[in-house]
């Protein structure tokens, strides 16, 4: 196996990087891939909570880098998915505890044993972000349909291009189709036109996602949920399958149907 390293990043915080990293991990593992998720947000670790593995942490990423444990000892196996592992971030240290070359070395050690190595990047454009993109083969930039998030995504894409880690691929998270229909939210077309990068997926706004992250149960494993389907589709596209983007305009809620009136 020659594992691929995917880094999930955004610039702005709170757009859904961690949720997407956890769900892509679960979705890829569900189709039989060997996957390891790395939480690079040292000092503000979250990926363990979203994956529901918080209470199993013994060693973390910094312990591995500083040689206090072997790599395998820091890898926590997922409760549900066979072949899914987490390397958690340290909570009591900061981003300078790890360097970009440490991350490259770590990923090179993991590549022979895994199909996918998913790195959850911290927000920002400083050291933590540079650690996260240093080993990346594929960079996924997550944005929300908000001007500030799109602006930060643009900045991040510029850095990724100049560090020759590109081309970045875009995920637009939390699209609210009712708001788009009312003209109150920027459309995915506007975002793609501005950022001028490939669109890997769009994920609809769904409050069930928050419930799932609180419970540590990936929504991507829920066949009936639209956001979960969107996440599974992204994982399929990563595997090279051609899956068309979800058509969210048909999935209107009760109010959406009323307000949309005679529109098709």
């Amino acid at each position: 196996m020659a594992g691929k390293v995917i880094t999930v990043t955004s610039g702005k915080g709170g757009v859904g990087k961690t949720t997407i990293a956890a769900n892509l991990g679960a979705a890829l593992a569900a189709v039989g891939k060997q996957v390891v998720c790395i939480d690079a947000d040292i000092g503000l670790r979250n990926l363990d909570i979203v994956m529901g593995l918080e209470n199993r942490i013994v060693y973390d990423l910094v312990d591995v880098v500083e040689g206090r444990c072997r790599l395998r000892q820091a890898m926590i196996r997922d409760k549900r998915s066979e072949g899914l592992y987490l390397i958690p971030a340290a909570q009591t240290r900061d981003k300078t505890a790890v360097s970009p070359s440490d991350m490259i070395k770590l990923c090179n050690e993991l590549r022979p044993d895994f199909d996918w190595i998913i790195i959850d990047s911290p927000a920002g454009i400083e050291r933590g972000f540079r650690n996260a993109i240093a080993p990346a083969d594929v960079v996924l930039v997550v944005t929300n349909p908000e001007i500030s998030a799109v602006r930060d995504a643009d900045r991040i894409i510029g850095i990724i291009e100049s560090e020759e880690k590109g081309p970045a691929q875009l995920i637009i998270n939390r699209i609210d189709q009712n708001m788009v229909n009312r003209g109150d939210m920027i459309t995915q077309e506007d975002i793609v036109e501005l950022l001028a990068v490939g669109l890997l997926g769009i994920i609809p706004e769904d409050e069930k996602v928050i419930v799932s992250t609180n419970q540590g149960l990936p929504i991507a494993l829920d066949d009936k949920n639209l956001a979960g389907t969107a996440l599974r589709n992204i994982s399929k596209r990563l595997l090279g399958e051609e899956v068309s983007l979800l058509d969210l305009s048909n999935k209107r809620g009760f109010f959406g149907k009323i307000f949309a009136g005679g529109r098709q």
Binding site: R151, D152, A196
Partner: protein, 225 residues
């Protein structure tokens, strides 16, 4: 000390100048030298004068990371190469102009009407900045959060949505034109226009000064007077 590396302490931190030559050799010598003097250089903020070396952003980023591994922060780059300057800009590393410029304009530079111009064939994203003493031509978009400051005219063959300042050193005849003109802020000389077009008409537009006001017109301009 390595003959090609000069190191000195300044008010703002440590300053190192490197000589011309093969970059990978220079870089290795630099890192080796730093390793030897690490006690002196620990946690330093470094100003690096790379002279005429043309460093791509990936190369410069690698050096920055290698320095970071040694607790040294690459604070400022001094360079005579526009390629290196652009790399530093895109990585968010400070740039200081070289004291002595002894070379003819770099190849990307050209001239319009006898004045120097710089041509950029790519999209300027948020955080990118071009600061040039002549004209600036961009073939691509200028996204919100990007800025162009030029002593001459600014021409954008694409969407202009960032901030621009033409005639920055006081030229009131400078113009700004773009295929779609919707800047965050537009300045000509010391005049400022924050007016964003209420309805974006997707037609080329040009902005110029007329009677101390910035006037934006669709292109081609109607013959007035």
């Amino acid at each position: 000390m390595h003959p090609n590396i000069k190191i000195k302490g300044t008010r703002d931190g440590i300053s190192i100048a490197v000589e011309p030559g093969d970059w990978s050799e220079i870089r290795n010598a630099l890192l080796e030298h730093i390793d030897k003097q690490i006690a002196f250089l620990e946690n330093a903020q470094l100003t690096l004068d790379v002279g005429e070396h043309a460093l791509k952003a990936a190369e410069m980023g690698r050096l920055r990371d290698q320095l970071a591994d040694r607790t040294i922060k690459l604070q400022t780059i001094i360079s005579q190469s526009p390629i290196t300057e652009r790399s530093a800009q895109s990585l968010g590393i400070g740039i200081r102009a070289a004291m002595h410029i002894k070379h003819s304009p770099p190849p990307l530079n050209t001239s319009i009407g006898g004045e120097g111009a710089v041509l950029t064939k790519r999209t300027l994203r948020s955080g990118h900045s071009i600061n040039f003493r002549g004209h600036v031509v961009v073939v691509g978009d200028v996204n919100p959060g990007a800025e162009i400051i030029a002593d001459g005219n600014i021409l954008v063959w694409g969407h202009l949505r960032g901030s621009v300042h033409a005639g920055a050193s006081g030229n009131e005849n400078a113009i700004v034109c773009a295929l779609e003109l919707a800047p965050q802020q537009l300045r000509i000389s010391d005049h400022i226009s924050e007016k964003r077009p209420s309805k974006i008409i997707k037609k080329p537009k040009a902005a110029r000064l007329e009677e101390q006001e910035i006037l934006i017109e669709t292109w081609p301009q109607k013959k007035s007077k």
